[in-house]
Homo-oligomer: 436 residues x 2
Amino acid sequence: MRLSQYFLPLLKETPSEAQIASHRLMLRAGMIRQTAAGIYTWLPLGFRVLQKVEQIVREEQDAAGAQELLMPTLQPAELWRESGRYEDYGEEMLRLKDRHKREMLYGPTNEELITEIFRQAVRSYRDLPKNLYHIQWKFRDEVRPRFGVMRGREFLMKDNYSFDIDKAASLVSYFRMFKAYMKTFKRMGLTPIPVRAATGPIGGDLSHEFHVQADTGESQLYFDSEIEKLDEDKLDPASPTVQDELLKWYAATDEKHDPAAFARVPEARRREARGIEVGQLFYFGTKYSAPMKATVAGPKGDTVAVEMGSYGIGVSRLVGAIIEASHDDDGIIWPESVAPFHVGLVNLRPSDKECAEAGEQLYQRLMKSGIDTLYDEREESPGAKFAAMDLVGLPWQVVVGPRGLKQGVVEVKERKTGVKQELSLDAAVARLVGLR
Amino acid sequence: MRLSQYFLPLLKETPSEAQIASHRLMLRAGMIRQTAAGIYTWLPLGFRVLQKVEQIVREEQDAAGAQELLMPTLQPAELWRESGRYEDYGEEMLRLKDRHKREMLYGPTNEELITEIFRQAVRSYRDLPKNLYHIQWKFRDEVRPRFGVMRGREFLMKDNYSFDIDKAASLVSYFRMFKAYMKTFKRMGLTPIPVRAATGPIGGDLSHEFHVQADTGESQLYFDSEIEKLDEDKLDPASPTVQDELLKWYAATDEKHDPAAFARVPEARRREARGIEVGQLFYFGTKYSAPMKATVAGPKGDTVAVEMGSYGIGVSRLVGAIIEASHDDDGIIWPESVAPFHVGLVNLRPSDKECAEAGEQLYQRLMKSGIDTLYDEREESPGAKFAAMDLVGLPWQVVVGPRGLKQGVVEVKERKTGVKQELSLDAAVARLVGLR
């Protein structure tokens, strides 16, 4: 993409309403614009990242055997009366009426609707297990939305729902998601901390939250630093001892914190930190299936209410969380897997014939090699161009300038380390293609 | 995907509420379920088609130089007061209030919001042209939603917006979209009829609708059959005569119909038909940019209100329109480009050892070759399996049975023509891989 044509409104000033780094950087880098309190438009650069994060979530859900569908944003109120949550949910639920005065709501989550879809379709234990997910916009009417996409009102969430014949099978589904979540977050360059958590308005007996450490996080975490080394590949969701294995390392949010147990963690490994919640798992048995009569015929011909769990990932929030975990004073530092472009190509003097030719050649060769490249061929000062590239934070920068070209070289810089290398045009292309 | 594990609730009975083929078939084939009047859940099979249709739309927008972003579903009422449409829009607009009693609405279209985003960001004619699109759920509160996803209330629409410095440039943007739309619909196996149309609540001076012929269509079309042969590759959007070239062949909806002009079309080429609208183009100049003050500095330092157009494609509606255009008494007939799977593999006797082995081998080999395959290994009667596959309508069926295997062959059937061929396992795989 040529920067002169790209819709990328960068801001020089730091917007006063932005209190945290990710919000500030997303506004300055032209990723988002606020449409209303807690409601954002994703501009082209931000949308590219959102799509990449969404795609990683999707791939790991598919790999774990979940099936994707899509529920609508609006739901009828009756469904939520069946489970008893319509009155309980409080003011965070956005209620509305259509032209025929029918009561509806903008889905904050989908336990009721998925249970309705399941009970219409499934009759026998032979059709189990099932795990259904969707990635859809949700609305929670926060009193005080803030921190940009980290605590928005309209937000993109992946939520899935498992259906099993008994508790043992349901826990296997639960820990299969645990494993998928660890993989998902690691693929985005994050180090997730899984902690035991309270179940809140979703309900149930067992819950884990996945946190990313950041000073601006909303939750207080207490954990044994060993948990950062948890290797999900060694986790067998079907093992009857999987729960105990995870209990080996202390990790909890303040709601579930047990100071006495925490004190038994060797002091050098005891960590207290703020965390951003990016995902949560719930096992809640028959909390929805029993009142909503989502039953199947069991193996002995008996009628069984299915055992359920639900599992959420904050897809739009993750974009902010990744930035919180990976930035410096100059801007964002994108992990390769979610970077909006892989290379930022900077032409220091586009009006110079040699620079123009070399820049164009590099741009064409990189694009043909499948390397997404953002080409800055604007008439701007070198300082403004360097600042823009560091702000936008693509993993690699290639700088074409008249002085280098006289020696037959361009400069290749890694955003993360700042390490620069002078390479011939051929070597620069080979290097970047090789890194892909 | 193994059918025994797939969430595919097929219906044997024709649901009484479904009046048209696409609605009936989408319910019976387990593609959608109604959540509320005019609001649907897309089950896994339907969601796969929706994603493919969306991706074709996206690719042709990108190829035409439009840039993707994502606006939220909810918008503040103030924006629509600026353009004067808040009161005008009538009851089709879903209005709501948040917990702080702020007036909001579920976007039925996005002229106001995109104009707001544009005016915040763009200052100079040098930043033009710009063409921005998004693919997002919209809501129009139809009095009487019907025909399934064809006239739903919550529906997926691609809408884009062009910004140009003057009328001539804006018309180039318009006809670039005209060309992209022709390509988009043809890639889905449709024969689009572009007709001059009224501009309705969007406003403006010039509009085309793209229709798919179907008896159940809502619009009355009058056209010269020659227009079906229109070759968009020969259309130059920048040609000053492009409008006249399109006027060569008569084509209009009843709103714009001119019986006298139609009478001049040679009788053998005169067509009257019902049409389903799947896309519409609008050129409306400064209708939004003038009241909302979306201006740029022009080349002479003057302040110019930008010239705009907007362009919509009904993405979810297209799934229904494709089925209306391509089905028979037994079920859907998917064009390859949007088929949810390419091959339906039917195992007539999964309990038979040889059948199980051959079926499994075929399934693995097809999947490894990148051929999306739906494998029916359920214990069901052959008749039920054949009926299910015809209903679901995948382009190719492969039937494995004990009798064929004795001769070393399986049966390959093309859904569209019904033509069957007996082939060895190797030849069947080679054939299907070759067709991809």
